[in-house]
């Protein structure tokens, strides 16, 4: 071997990336695929009936959920054998396991262990390997999953309350709210949570920053719910004090920040004389926003008194997120629950969660291309109202429990895979749920050429 191989550089693209300027919140900029080792909502309870199996993806991690004997289990939805998604064609022979429908690898729901292989019960691999399991909590009709890296230890899994907003009235002294009653929490007794979730086409951070951006309310100026109620929704709200935002990061508690809206620490802008624009509404609609790791929004006193709106922007891939909008209210009687449900169906869902918040989906999409290749984080020119986004980025850089790597072997890593393109050509956008095989004997997607005349 006397030939000397030439010494060559690796690809230029890799280098350009690594030369990116380190900034104050580089970990946040690096979190294109989201943060891992946090609790995220996965499904509404009523989306997963007894015995049901569903497949989803969060932060690039494919997860299969199964309800057995009432309890929800979550496992990595990528068979250790050849990477098949168990959820694509659910196969369960008992209440303790889930089997891969392709080669029969059968995993224990509780431990994730490879318990047996349907057609190969004595293989030496049995008992020696496992799928990652994800801790599950079900509260107020929502299924939460602790989405973790494969090596995250069980004993370090924090309680769900660490990744949910502050509770009231426990925090009413610290964050007083003289203009509305204590906001309901998902963890309270007799609380009812009603909402929707859908896929948005933007990076999760773009979506999340929209939620508590005090200059973004301009996009809602012409919304039906605002005009029909004659609400005073300012053109913008600018920071007017050095303590306009308070960070909370107590050990064992949620890590986030509270914006003191509708106090003298923020100035609502109701008129722009340059443009001769004025807010014409008559009825005040006071609210306040806080954001909590890993990207949970709490809007207190919204869309009406006694209700709090929760939002999550759960990363699916680096350019899609699952947008959760959930209204939470205390309903101590079945009568009050019925009233809330009726009002949710007739007013809140069509006019608030859809009409009003649909504007946010448009707005996030409109920002996506600027940030998609990473240059937007350097090119953006910020103003004083962006204080909220920047504080959040710094907070998230400090308190995340891990940055999701671009996932190996998961849906959406390859933007132009043939399966993805076929789905798109059939009118199916890349989304949150697994593509299930429902018509077993009919693979009718490809054109069939027959022999003969």
């Amino acid at each position: 071997m006397s030939d000397k191989q030439p010494v060559r550089r690796r690809s230029q693209a890799k280098r350009a990336n690594s030369e990116a300027v380190q900034n104050e919140y580089q970990p946040y900029v690096d979190a294109e695929w989201g943060f891992v080792n946090h609790w995220y909502p996965a499904l509404f309870s009523n989306e997963l009936g007894e015995g049901d199996v569903e497949g989803i993806q969060i932060a690039g991690i494919q997860i299969v959920l199964r309800r057995a004997n009432g309890k929800v289990y979550a496992l990595k939805d990528q068979c250790i054998h050849r990477g098949v998604r168990l959820s694509a064609k659910p196969m369960c022979f008992n209440k303790e396991t889930i089997s891969c429908w392709y080669h029969g690898f059968t995993f224990n729901l509780e431990s994730g262990n490879l318990d047996t292989i349907v057609g190969n019960p004595d293989d030496p691999l049995i008992g020696n390997t496992n799928l990652t399991t994800y801790p599950v909590e079900e509260v107020a009709g929502l299924i939460f999953v602790f989405v973790r890296s494969d090596d995250y230890p069980d004993e370090d899994v924090p309680p769900l309350s660490e990744d949910l907003p502050l509770r009231f009235p426990e925090n009413s002294d610290r964050f007083p709210h003289p203009l509305w009653p204590a906001s309901p929490s998902l963890l309270d007794e007799s609380v009812v949570a009603l909402g929707i979730h859908r896929t948005g086409e933007a990076n999760w951070r773009i979506a999340c920053e929209n939620g508590f951006d005090n200059a973004h309310i301009l996009v809602h100026k012409d919304n039906t719910i605002v005009q029909a109620n004659n609400w005073v929704l300012p053109l913008g709200i600018r920071p007017a004090s050095e303590d306009c935002i308070t960070v909370f990061d107590d050990a064992g508690g949620p890590k986030g920040m509270m914006q003191w809206l509708f106090t003298d620490r923020w100035e609502p802008i109701l008129e722009n004389k340059t443009l001769d624009v004025k807010v014409e509404g008559l009825n005040s609609r006071l609210y306040r926003t806080s954001v909590i790791m890993p990207g949970v929004l709490l809007v207190e006193n919204w869309p009406e008194e006694g209700i709090a709106q929760y939002e999550w922007y759960v990363p699916i891939t680096d350019d899609t997120y699952e947008y959760w909008e959930v209204l939470v209210k205390h309903c101590p009687t079945s009568e009050s629950e019925e009233q809330f449900t009726y009002r949710f169906d007739t007013v809140f869902q069509p006019l608030a969660l859809r009409g009003f918040n649909d504007c946010d989906l448009h707005a996030r999409e409109a920002m996506q291309d600027f940030y998609a290749d990473g240059t937007g984080w350097q090119k953006e020119q910020l103003v004083e109202t962006d204080i909220s986004a920047i504080m959040w980025r710094k907070l998230a850089s400090r308190h995340n429990r891990g940055i999701a790597p671009p996932p190996p072997g998961a849906q959406g890593r390859d933007k132009a895979s043939s399966i993805r393109l076929r789905n798109v050509s059939e009118g199916k956008s890349p989304g949150y749920y697994v593509e299930k095989i429902d018509d077993l004997n009919n693979f009718n997607r490809t054109s069939v050429r027959q022999k003969g005349r």
Binding site: V7, R10, K14, R15, E19, E24, L125, D156, S397
Partner: protein, 339 residues
Amino acid sequence: MPVVSCHFTDGASFEVDADSGESFLEVALRHGVPIRNQCRSGTCLSCLGRYAAGSGPLSPRPGRPSSLLPVDKEQGKALCCVSEVTSEGDIYFDYPSDEAGPSEAKCFIDSIEWIASDAVKLTVELADGDWLDFRSGQYVEIAVPDSSRCRSYSMCTAPNDLPQLAFMVRILAGGLMSEYLTTIAKPDDVLTLRGPFGGFAWSGSRSAPQLFIAGGTGLSPICSILHEIRNVAGAKPPMTLSLGCATPEALLAPDYLRLLESWMPTLSLRLSAEFGDVEGAVMRGNALTAIDFSAVTPQTEAYVCGPEGLINAATKKLVEVGVPATNIYYERFVASGAT
């Protein structure tokens, strides 16, 4: 019992005495022979070994299927997991017994930036096709171009930053590498690395307090360890990093260290300078005077990296407050320009 000799590419060999009737892989693993394996059922080819000639000490176990082709068997290949020992002989594996052993790799200079009045950060990227695994805290030798000399430098990056590596390098007047880095080197120049070496490493504890004491560029391997801890899944240990330098201007990358502190809620940073105008968050003194030893518990694990004097003084202080010697890890930094 017949004896089988297992040979690896790094020259290591292991002798295994075994009887027939059992998978050779199982016997060899019991003897501590590092044969790669996965399926243990004759399929995946991980445990493939070769004989010097067409046949060797192993024979296929009766009734066990294997994914080898007839031509593989003629060439003397065997799968350990479905073979048993039938005679004495040798078997060869195409990989080293210790995969973390030193190797040589070419790399390209990405950048050389001043991070203090007398230190630069050298950032390189491994060449296409070259690789060099290491554990955080270890060092490599870098050959000084156009000379026969090498200098040792600890990485300040973590293994998962590969193929990029970086080093904090002290610049010494007249030093061979110092001259090269400050007057000749430019981006895209090629360097040769050899390594990794050294046993300075993180203990892996996520509960015991971790105390890092660095003098000058002794900070480099400690930065690597801090990156590893930042990347590890799960709760992080309480950490203190105390860096001492001669003057405030000589403090290495203080802005970057403060960023690390803001990204790691359980890390607290102490910066000290012995001479010069000390102001702001920088304290007067050295890496040891900045530490409140009365608050150091015996469970603490300490990492000391810097000149010999610092290591001796730190060890003495730590032992005095009850930290067992087994909890003290150190790496001696000497100015290699002098040798």
